[in-house]
Symmetry: C2
Subunit: 305 residues, 2 copies
């Protein structure tokens, strides 16, 4: 039984996400031929060295030529440049999709450049690690994770079905929603957590009474959890905040409001209110574990000692 979904695919950007897609597609036989594009540079050379894909291109247009599916896996801020590069080379009926962490901006950047007859169906796999580049990817990254697609209202159902089949082939669950709804959902489940993590790590570096060495030595009390996502790729995350500004500012406003309430409870010694919040928050983790999106192992199953 063959699982081939697309005869030829092109992956533009061979970093963590792009290389995970190439590895997964190869492992599951989802694509006949895989063309890979990136900047002329170390990532492209490394992809060739690792045998990620079948042909390698420093020009995204060359990779996109003849492809049934073009998967754009570059930082969100680079999507317009990629759209311009691939547009003249796309074959009629091709599907163009992406994996960017923000969706409305990607549509704004790409749609105006794409020719009629090409299907733009933006996407975002909610899966990743704090590492980047072609060596960081692995075929199982999307297994039992959610991949969100934000098809336009007038999407071609057959094109959508093929893209859904591709993601399911990679092991993902698929959900569709509007780009705008995606952006507010991810603002709370991903962008705000990253912002807060970056911020607390920055604050800890600057508090004069406590040395850097103390912050690092005594980080097992909780701080170290935040440093993982605060070690994520700076380019990717700068682009996320610049391109999802409104939604991020909205949820940040809510976060700050709640934090001031908590601050007041601490100042006035309102132990019961603190206890109530701290009890309520446990249920959410149980729910996430129940949905298979988190490990129940203590301490994330971190290596002991």
């Amino acid at each position: 039984m063959t699982t081939l979904v697309f005869e030829r695919i092109a992956v533009v950007g061979i970093g963590l996400i792009g290389s995970s897609i190439v590895r997964g597609a190869r492992a599951k036989g989802l694509a006949g031929t895989i063309a890979v594009a990136d900047h002329a540079g170390p990532h492209l050379a490394r992809a060739r060295e690792l045998g990620l894909g079948d042909d390698w291109h420093a020009d995204a247009g060359d990779a996109a030529a003849g492809a049934d599916l073009v998967m754009v896996a570059v930082p969100v801020g680079a999507c317009e440049a990629v759209a311009k590069a691939i547009a003249p080379r796309l074959k009629p009926g091709a599907i163009v999709t992406d994996v960017g962490s923000v969706k409305a901006s990607v549509v704004r950047q790409m749609k105006p450049h794409l020719p009629a007859g090409v299907h733009l169906i933006p996407g975002h796999p909610v899966a990743g690690t704090e590492f980047s580049g072609p060596d960081a990817g692995f075929a199982e990254l999307f297994e039992n994770r959610w991949s969100i697609l934000t098809p336009p209202d007038d999407v071609d159902p057959a094109a959508l079905a093929r893209l859904v089949a591709f993601w399911r082939g990679l092991g993902a669950n698929v959900e569709t929603m509007t780009a705008e709804h995606h952006d507010i959902v991810l603002a709370i489940t991903s962008h705000l957590p990253h912002l807060i993590a970056y911020n607390i790590v920055g604050t800890a570096a600057d508090v004069e009474q406590v040395t850097q060495s103390e912050v690092m030595k005594f980080s097992a009390g909780g701080f170290r959890d935040f440093t993982r996502i605060a070690a994520s790729d700076p380019t990717m995350w700068r682009d996320v905040f610049l391109h999802n500004r409104e939604a991020v500012l909205e949820v940040l406003g809510r976060f700050t409001e709640d934090l001031f309430a908590l601050q007041r409870q601490i100042r006035w010694g309102e132990g019961d209110k603190l206890f109530d919040l701290f009890t309520r928050t446990r249920a959410i983790r149980r729910g996430i574990i129940g949905l298979g999106q988190e490990t129940p192992a203590p301490d994330f199953g971190r290596r002991k000692g």
Copy 2:
């Protein structure tokens, strides 16, 4: 070669930390006899069932009688009650210590009740998980973690040395500092991270545009990391915030100030400043990994899929 450090120890509170100490002390032969105390209730019954210790007491005073070391491992807010219970039963020259996450308050709560001739040397092992109770503990919890002691200026050097030997026997590194310095260091490396985590999980539960189910499904984008520490014991954490109020409010003020600066950078599209912060924060994680306080495995080495 015997590693016996104390003839008889008493552990008051047989939860995550208390039971880890009992398990470690037994495994390493650090104590001749181990008396365990807790409320009359399921934890005490479970400790007996698991064979944690040699004798079990619903009265902390009964456990403390004759002990060379009394290790208090209860929520910070319960320390005064324990001091009152053990004080009349302590043998001259006994060492009284604790594991509470706050130190100046513990001294204020316990010292006035303890008789002269008893050595109060507060402590705090910077190690833990999000679980609690006697089943959650394990002997290796303190291995290669830091245990902080906050001895008074006039501490008896021999008593301090024995307590240090006990923690080293459990596998910990030991550092001493003042109670006040401890409280500001831990405010930034542990208490603020917990507060922020509880807060963001609370905010996520309340944003109307996003359903609970969406928050849980799409949590792998970063949010789920925060739910681990927001699942920690509510009683313990209520007590931490009530008893380390000043230091927590101080570092929280710094955090909020920095967050407003970040918010402004997002609003005004200052990508370079965002990029600089996001680059700076990576170094701190590398430092923590270098010190052996964190795993370098992607995603904390979480189970894949």
